[in-house]
């Protein structure tokens, strides 16, 4: 398994994605991209949905990418990936390309391009079973266009299209559970990870892309210091706190079986996470006390749902580990 030193070494050996891009100070997205690309052994082709990542890394005439890279539009990143992947397999079938040199197709999309605009093409590609990895870097709003709410924005967050003030308390709806939507497609691998847990993310990418038999989907919590309104230096610790407060459970679903990959030890209230971010500042006014309770109740309910599913699948993974050595990719999972 890649550990942090092999990741660091991979970066110098093969520069797939480099600096000099114009993403913001303290942005979480490059951390996602680097960990994902450095964890894949085969050559990669990257398909990029519109978003911060696409806009800030490919300002003409420069590019931060050192791999074949394709961008078409906001809504069709998965459709473009489907075409590229199918063309690759067709060329192998025709004998134009050798069949012993696999290529991994990776699609990056933000939460706007995945949860909202690209959902139909993602759903289609997952349903058709194309062999590609879709990585959604979820920073919980349309950060590129000026922090508008998306369906990934959590309840109560202050954005420019769900402003908090005297009438409104921020976004009035709960966030969409995209990971659950991906799971409903019954694809071989779905995972949820965060930038703070690089080993977890790296393991998931490695597992998803080794001997790929179908689509894999990863939902990775990123941060945005501009939209979340926190100090740039806190990017990692805030993402970690989202995991530790059980707002963002780290789990994976392999062939329909749930497995928790990180279990927070302490029961930290969600308030601790909300307090660090300017977008939730208004929730700490006395009149909004009820909203905090509502958020905590929702987080607890969602965590319990996933925890129960993972608990009931524990015997499955135990039996599998005893019978099949291949799945034992990481001893820390046991």
């Amino acid at each position: 398994m890649p550990n942090i030193k092999t990741l660091a070494l991979n970066e110098s050996r093969e520069m797939r994605f480099r600096g000099g891009h114009s993403l913001c100070q303290g942005c979480g997205i490059p951390i996602v991209v680097r960990t994902v690309l450095n964890s894949i052994d085969t050559p990669v082709v990257v398909i990029n949905a519109t978003g911060c990542l696409e806009v800030a890394t490919t300002r003409y005439p420069t590019t931060a990418w050192n791999v074949p890279w394709l961008h078409v539009a906001f809504e069709n990143a998965s459709a473009a990936a489907s075409g590229v992947e199918t063309a690759f397999r067709a060329l192998i079938k025709r004998g134009a390309l050798p069949d012993d040199k696999p290529i991994t197709f990776v699609t990056f999309g933000g939460d706007g391009g995945t949860y909202d605009i690209g959902l139909q093409s993602l759903s289609g590609a997952l349903e058709r079973g194309h062999r590609f990895l879709y990585v959604c870097y979820d920073n919980e709003a349309y950060m590129n266009t000026g922090i508008q709410r998306s369906s990934a924005t959590p309840f109560g967050a202050d954005t420019t299209t769900s402003p908090a003030g005297t009438v409104s308390f921020g976004k009035a709806q709960q966030r969409k559970d995209l990971t659950a939507i991906a799971i409903a497609h019954h694809i071989p691998y779905i995972g949820q990870s965060a930038i703070s847990h690089w080993q977890d993310l790296s393991n998931k990418v490695k597992f998803a892309t080794t001997n790929m038999e179908g689509p894999a989907f990863l939902n990775v919590l990123s941060t945005c210091q501009l939209g979340w309104r926190h100090e740039p230096k806190d990017a990692i610790s805030i993402a970690r706190l989202a995991v530790e407060t059980r707002f963002w459970p780290l789990y994976e679903v392999i062939d329909g079986h749930y497995r928790l990959t990180h279990e927070p030890l302490d029961n930290i209230p969600i308030e601790n996470w909300l307090r660090l971010q300017g977008r939730f500042k208004h929730l700490f006014k006395p009149e909004n006390k009820g909203l905090l309770n509502e958020i905590q109740t929702h987080v607890d309910k969602e965590w319990q749902r996933i925890y129960d599913l993972c608990e009931s699948d524990k015997p499955y993974f135990k039996a599998l580990e005893q019978s099949n050595q291949q799945l034992k990719i990481n001893p820390s999972y046991a």
Binding site: I4, K5, A8, F17, G20, Q25, P30, P232, A235
Partner: protein
């Protein structure tokens, strides 16, 4: 690969810093277990005491701007002038 890791642990490695890319977010300063990274007056990354570096690579894995890279001393990146090179020797 394992050999390379062993060599890192023995200090046979170099920390390459490309200050020109640094945006001064302080993420590496927060992450460094040896507390040897800091920002200078121009808000760019600076290595203070290389003798304390354990070559853990956490700064290289965290930096959003790819300013920091771990390398073997013989790498051709080291002769590249755009990187500042730090070794323990």
């Amino acid at each position: 690969m394992l050999d390379n890791i062993k060599r890192y642990e023995q200090g046979d490695a170099a920390l390459l810093v490309k200050r020109e890319w640094c945006k001064g977010c302080n993420i590496c300063v927060e992450a460094c277990p040896s507390d040897i990274l800091t920002l200078d007056d121009a808000d760019k990354i600076k290595v203070t005491d290389m003798s304390k570096c354990v070559f853990c690579g956490i700064c290289a894995a965290r930096c959003p701007d790819f300013c920091i890279t771990l390398e073997r001393p013989e790498s051709n990146l080291i002769s590249n002038n755009s990187y500042e090179t730090y070794t323990r020797k």
